[in-house]
Amino acid sequence: MSRQLLTGNAAAAWGARLADVDYIPAFPITPQTEIIETLAAWSQAGELPGRFVTFDGEHSMLTAAGAAAAAGARTFTATSSQGLLFGMESLYTISGWRVPLVLVNVSRGLSAPITLGPDHNDVLAARDAGFVQIHAETCQEVLDSILMGYRIAEDRRVSVPVLVNLDGFYLSFTREPVDVPDEAAVREFLPPFDFEHLGFRASRPIAQGVAVLEGATYSHFRYQMHRAIQNAAAVHAEATVEFSRLFGRSYAAIEQYRVEDADTVLVMAGSFAAKGKAAVDQWRADGRRVGLLRLRVVRPFPAAELAAALSGRRAVGVIDQNLSPGVGGIFCQELAAALYSVPDRPPVLRSFVTGLGGKDISQSEFDHVLSVLDAAQSGDPVTDTELLMTAAEWQQVQGRLASARRPVEDNAPLPTDSDDVRAAVRAEFEDARGGVS
């Protein structure tokens, strides 16, 4: 084992390298590109026995990835944002082939308007694609999840692709100390892919991906995928035990942070959960009983674990770094469904959306969330998702809007940032909402 300072992207490349992948189809996209550049450099230096091939786009890249996996190659690929959406048809196709591979997505907000900063709308667009989906918080977790991902994907009880998500910029380009395991230990955790049940070979012709035109038979196969991904929960738990034994690190489907006696719990995913944990620490120092649950395994959705962890709490705030227009935060919807039949479910559940397009989340926003949860009562009228933004950010937005409207000759300076009058900003939001309705 060696300890290195690695970006999230480099950690992903190390995951693929240690997994001794046979095949890496690639296409560049910000902020994922460093992964394939790293793998290409290793490949060209002769340090990577697998084959590295660049494609004409992610639709082709993902088709090739699935086809290679169907042929028996241990396959790694990576994309981000528009690339994931461009390849969406292929995602559904290759999961339907029931082939194991690991796809890394480096989260980035979706166009339009086109942007670069991270949020989870890209990866959650793929939530129904038939992939196991794991969201990493740290660079270490990126590497570890790729190794676990192959073990899960290649388990015959699962045999679907695994998507490992990391946040663009905040994780992809941030260096953290990462334990890079020894190859021998990795081989013990992840033996070579036994693809006896898969593969195209002269001695055994096989028809894969054939049309199924009867609805009932089609339903059967689709439901098989559901069962396979449900099976991944137990396989993930088994892999965690073995991983912990070999490497001393352990990952549950949900991470529970200081929830032991918490009356109020935040739910988050990805690298921004680290910010949530810092907020929890601050509140705990003030004597507040607040904790945080981080969603790590998103598919299979850990409904039972969440229900058990949240049963008996007074208030839950879900901070979604995504927005389903017309509904709100996606994880809040899924969590609400998981809690519905829990007798002792939290009487207060509120949805917040922030961190879109890489917008940071400040302590003041966390404080606002806590104040909303404190004030909320059981039986409150149904509330819409609340978009969080600091007063300074609101001022910035107003400045940009004003600039866009302003004639070019009227080149007055932008309004200066201000960090006060949260209440005034909120009032403006309310006005805007009222104006729409």
Binding site: F55, H59, S60, A64, A67, A70, A207
Partner: protein
């Protein structure tokens, strides 16, 4: 003029063995199926067919397949990328000792003109660019046949489709030339009518490492509107009128493998097909018929002016 035949003198010389067995749900008289059957005979049994969405996708409907070889349905737009994944996987698995070299397969993309000319062009161009060692068979029936015969970029001038009721106003894309522009080792046009020409081409291409691309005029009774028993006759007329030139390009150098001694008028090919009926009824569209004939004449004029090589 017919080029010298090197491997097969007559249809009797073709392998007797069949890899496409009877009983597929495709239409009677499908020229595409005949082409696949003939091509497969020459390729041999160790093939994995990588399919793009189209008529042929309905060949393998669970739990049946008429193929003795392997099959992978991909998507409409990325069959060549699927072929790349399979080819690369076979190569790397054999290289790394994980798969017996005796288990190797030839990879054949099977795609219609809708995929080939339109949605799949990027993936195919990428595979040609990378020099992928694979076969590609486009069964070109000149429209989106499987969805009920809508216009594609392969629909010829004047042809009626479900989305060009008064006839296509554009000329077809010249996919042969688009492919050839990238200089793959082998590009050819073939026809279900000329089994020997087709078999010769497959055999000539066999030794070449890289993309080997075949464009077959897939006569289509259902879409074109003629009796299935006329399939071979229509395919023959396409060749004899000069509408469907039989040719090949080795490393970009084109030669025609058959040139009619006397070109029959294009009308003889158009008239039996319902998709061109509006050119004749209720009144003759003289202007368009002249243009179609002129396009064919213009194609052949420089070819006929060349000294005949390898005749």
């Amino acid at each position: 003029m017919r080029v010298k035949r090197e491997h097969f003198r007559s249809p009797k010389d073709l392998p007797v063995v069949e890899y496409v067995t009877p009983g597929s749900p495709l239409c009677a008289g499908c020229g595409g199926l005949t082409t696949l059957r003939l091509m497969h005979k020459v390729l041999g049994e160790n093939v994995v067919v990588v399919n793009a969405a189209g008529c042929m996708t309905l060949m393998a409907v669970y739990p049946f397949t008429p193929l003795k070889s392997s099959w992978l349905y991909t998507t409409m737009g990325s069959a060549a990328a699927g072929a790349q994944g399979v080819r690369d996987a076979l190569d790397v698995l054999i290289e790394r000792g994980k798969l017996d070299a005796a288990d190797d397969l030839q990879v054949l993309v099977l795609a219609g003109d809708g995929s080939t000319y339109d949605m799949g062009l990027s993936a195919t161009s990428g595979a040609i660019h990378r020099g992928l060692n694979f076969w590609y068979l486009c069964y070109d029936n000149q429209a989106y046949g499987n969805t009920g015969f809508q216009m594609s970029a392969a629909s010829p001038l004047g042809s009626r489709t479900a989305t060009s009721h008064s006839g296509a106003v554009q000329r077809r894309k010249d996919i042969f030339e688009l492919w050839r522009a990238q200089r793959p080792p082998y590009v050819a046009t073939v026809s279900s009518h000329d089994a020997v020409d087709l078999a010769e081409k497959v055999e000539r291409a066999r030794g070449l490492n890289g993309p080997k691309l075949f464009l077959s005029l897939a006569v289509c009774p259902t879409g074109w509107g003629f009796d299935p028993e006329l399939s071979d006759e229509i395919a023959k007329l396409a060749i004899e009128t000069g509408v469907w030139p039989l040719k090949e390009a080795v490393d970009g150098a084109v030669r025609h493998t058959y040139v009619p001694n006397r070109f029959r008028p294009v009308e003889e090919y158009l008239r039996p097909q319902h998709r061109f009926a509006h050119l004749f009824e209720p009144q003759r569209d003289e202007e368009l018929l002249t243009r179609i004939q002129q396009n064919v004449d213009d194609y052949w004029a420089p070819v006929l002016a060349e000294p005949v090589a390898n005749a």
